[in-house]
Amino acid sequence: MSIFEVIFQPGWVDTALKIGIIVIKIAIVIGVVMFHVAYATYFERKVIGRMQVRMGPMEVGPHGLLQPVADMLKLFFKEDIIPEKADKPIFYLAPIISLTAAMSALAVVPFYKDFMIANINIGLLFVLAMSALGSYGIVLSGWASNSKYAFLGGLRSSAQVISYEIALGLSLVGVMIMSGSLNLNEIVKAQAAYPTGLYAIPQILGFFVFVVAAIAETNRSPFDLPEAESELVAGYFVEYSGMRFALFYAAEYIGMILMGCIASACYLGGWTVPWYLIKILPFLKYVPGIVWFVGKVYFVIFCYYWIRATLPRYRYDQLMAIGWKLLIPLALLNILITGLLKLIF
């Protein structure tokens, strides 16, 4: 069979249409998320500025609204500096691995009822697998830069990410048990049918572990030891500049948005509203689901900023102790309780 016959088999229109729809969905999601990444940096500076009784960025555009555009232009035109003794192929590869891992995990997030790029049965496991891949970007960039600061930052970060990945995965097991599914779309649907409407209420222990582990997993303050500027300059990406630095930066913010999406879908009800809220305020049911979803994600991201402005950085041994001696036992306890309750009821 020639290539021509393969392409023009009966039913190729359907296949082409399916692929076309997926490509359009990918374009929408990437466009929206990259826009959010740009403005997440702006809001971070604004929110933290307000919390510290400052104004935040004010110069570019009204209230500094064009600041992200200016930052992006600057990063585009910066000189791309590569250390002479760096391991070149891995140095080039590391930021790409980071960004790819963060972006591909977005494929399974249900932004609205049945609107997701890939509706797969193992959605949650896919997210965990991609966050496992993301740690390679960090480790490799630290190693390939051939610099002491980057190396130490990379080592710290990989130890941190591996430790907290366990707590993150275990905290989600409670949700998996309650909903009986790994598919994020099904989890939200099961959640809407549940009496409380949110898994955050019965799964309060799991939710706590998830939030702390998610902050550590994305290397955010107060667990931002890999990039502790007072000790390590900037940690694993200290040797990166220009566009490559921007890729790491984007990966970090996409990771944050992703954790917001997972928290929203697994604990806060995704695109649905609890039924009792609709009973009290009936007009709420006319609000489209995407607004709820995005609002919940914004709330989680705001909490990230809030925590960053409030808490000082932990010491490294404290960080490891919290992960292994507090969060993992708590997550296991949560699994035990959830399992027993599921067995009884």
Binding site: D87, I90, L93, I120, N121, I122, L125, F126, L128, A129, S131, A132, L133, S135, Y136, V139, L140, W143, F151, G154, L155, S158, A159, I162, E165, G169, L182
Partner: protein
């Protein structure tokens, strides 16, 4: 179409495995291994074994291989990058490889193309792989499953004991 994918995965798995062995830089070897793990996960996906594919990546790529990288980086093998081969002792290696070849040829003889048990590919995709695997593991194969977890527990305790011993002395 499925055959095309299988040929691609098979070629890439063999190619990456060879690159792991002949590479002179241990970090590059680990990266080739990472690529290989992803292709093995791809083969699992083609068999409708999506749970196995995800755990393959989470466990092997996310935990074991990162620890490999960790050890290699802490040993700081940069000076040894110039060494001729990353693996020495080819006679023993050849013997082991031949042994594996014989075992795989022997197992190929008893191989049937069709699934023999109740779990054909269609059946697995109907029940979803996670459910099928969980159900079978916790009912039919409960004892071997628990024995395996006990062995892992012994290994964990052993690792803790070894680490503690070094701390004391």
């Amino acid at each position: 179409m499925v055959e095309l994918f299988f040929i691609y995965f098979a070629i890439m798995i063999v190619f990456c495995s060879v690159m792991v062995v002949i590479g002179k830089n241990p970090v590059h070897s680990v990266l080739w291994m990472l690529v290989m793990f992803f292709h093995v996960a791809g083969v699992y996906l083609m068999l409708n074994a999506e749970f196995l594919a995800a755990t393959q990546i989470i466990v092997y790529a996310g935990a074991i291989l990162v620890l490999f990288l960790f050890v290699i980086m802490l040993l700081n093998l940069r000076d040894e990058i110039v060494s001729e081969h990353s693996v020495d002792g080819w006679p023993a290696g050849l013997a082991i490889a031949l042994g594996f070849l014989i075992v795989s040829v022997l197992s190929l003889v008893g191989f049937t193309v069709k699934a023999t048990g109740p779990w054909s590919i269609e059946e697995v995709s109907r029940v979803t792989h996670t459910k099928a695997l969980g159900g079978v593991l916790y009912t039919e194969y409960l004892l071997p499953f628990e024995v395996a977890s006990l062995i892992l527990l012994v290994a964990i305790v052993g690792a803790v004991v070894l680490a503690k011993k070094r701390l004391k002395s």
